[in-house]
Amino acid sequence: MARSDVQLMLDVKAGDEQSFALLLQRYRSPLVNFLYRMVRNREQAEDLAQEVFIRVYRARAEYVPSAKFTTWLFRIATNLALNSLRDTRHQRMEMSLDAPVTADAEDGDDRTLDVADKHPDIEQHLVEEARKAMIKHAIDKLPEKQRAAVLLHKYQELDYAEIAKILACSESALKSLLFRAYESLRVELAPLVSGAK
C-alpha cells in the first residue's frame, strides 16, 4: 500500500531521503502546472516549484502533521507565486504594452494566428489552438487571488476548506471568490460558452 503524504513527510523528518524522492515524484507535475498557470512562464514556474520542494525539505525537522500535506505544500507554492507576481508586476506591464495578439504566447513562443492555409487538418488545429489561447487568456486575466482559487479548485481538486486555508480566507469568502472568478470567465469566454449551447 502506498504511504500517505504525511507518513512520507514524517519519514523524511526521520532522515529517510528516499521518502523525499517519492514526494518529489508525486507532486512535481501538479506543482509545476499550478505555478505555470499562476506565473505564465514555464522556466519561472520550474524555479518556483524547486523552491517549494527546498522549503519543504528545510522544514522537515520542525514538521508536525497538523494539516493535510497538500494544504501546506500549495500554501507555500501560492505564497511564492503571489510574491513572484508582485515582484515582476512592473516588468510584465512593460512587456504587455508591446505584446502582439497571439494564438499561443506560451514560453515566449509568439506565433501569430494565420488562417491562410485552407488544409482542413491545419485549419482545425489552428481553431483548437485559438480556443485554448482564449481560455488561457481568460484565466490569465483573472485577479491573482481569483486565479489561484480557480486553479486549486479546478486542477488540484482540493476541497473548499483546504483552499480557504491556502488562501488564508474563510470558506464563505472562498465561495464568493470562486463565483466572481467564474462570472468573469463566463463573460470573457462568452463566444465559446454560447457556442456550446
Binding site: E17, F20, A21, L24, Q25, R28, S29, V32, N33, Y36, R37, R42, E46, A49, Q50, F53, I54, Y57, R58, A61, R131, K132, I135, K136, I139, V150, H153, K154, Y155, D159, Y160, S172, K175, S176, L178, F179, Y182, E183, L185, R186, L189, L192, V193, A196, K197
Partner: protein
C-alpha cells in the same frame, strides 16, 4: 432563497458538493429563476472549457536540479551533535557536570562573615542552628533596651552573638 444567496451556493452546486437539504433549496430557486438557471448552465460550460487546457510536463532536468539543491543543503545538527565527533569530550563534560552537582549538594559547614567584625573582622564558624538568630541580627542590634546592657568584651564577637541569642 434569493439570487444574492445563490452566489455562495452556486459553485458548490455545480461541483455537486452541497448537502441534500441545501441542494433541494437551490433547485427550488432555480425552478423559479431563469437568470440563475442560465448562470448555472454556463458555469458548467466554463468548467468544461477549463478541462481543455493541456497539462505540461516538468523538464527532464527538474528532478536532478531539486536533488542537487537538496544535496547542497547544510546538514542540520542539534547542539548535542557537537559532541558526536568526540565521545571522550562528551564523557568528560558529563563527569564534570556530575561532580559539580555532587559537590554543590554536599551538606557542610556554613561560613558566615559576622557583620559586627567589620569588613576586616574575623570569620566565625557558625552552627547552622544559629542561622535564624543571625537572620534577625539587624533587629536585635537596634533593639533599644539592649543598649543599656554592658558592652561586650572587645574582640570576642562569638560571645556577643551568644549573648543576643540568650536574650
Amino acid at each position: 432563497m434569493s439570487c444574492s444567496r445563490m452566489e455562495k451556493q452556486m459553485m458548490p452546486y455545480v461541483d455537486g458538493r452541497l448537502k441534500v437539504s441545501e441542494q433541494r433549496e437551490v433547485e427550488a430557486h432555480l425552478e423559479k429563476c431563469a437568470a440563475c438557471r442560465v448562470r448555472v448552465h454556463e458555469f458548467r460550460t466554463v468548467s468544461g472549457l477549463l478541462d481543455e487546457l493541456p497539462l505540461i510536463e516538468p523538464s527532464g532536468a527538474f528532478d536532478a536540479r531539486v536533488r542537487a539543491r537538496v544535496a547542497a543543503e547544510p546538514v542540520k545538527q542539534s547542539w548535542w551533535a557537537v559532541f558526536a565527533p568526540s565521545p571522550r569530550a562528551a564523557f568528560a563534560a558529563s563527569m564534570l557536570l556530575l561532580a559539580t552537582i555532587w559537590i554543590g549538594s554536599r551538606p557542610g559547614n556554613v561560613n558566615v562573615n559576622v557583620p559586627n567584625g567589620g569588613p576586616n573582622g574575623p570569620t566565625a564558624q557558625i552552627d547552622p542552628n544559629d542561622l535564624p538568630v543571625l537572620e534577625n541580627y539587624d533587629i536585635l542590634a537596634n533593639f533599644e533596651p539592649l543598649t543599656d546592657l554592658p558592652q561586650p568584651v572587645q574582640g570576642d564577637d562569638s560571645d556577643e552573638v551568644d549573648g543576643n541569642q540568650a536574650m
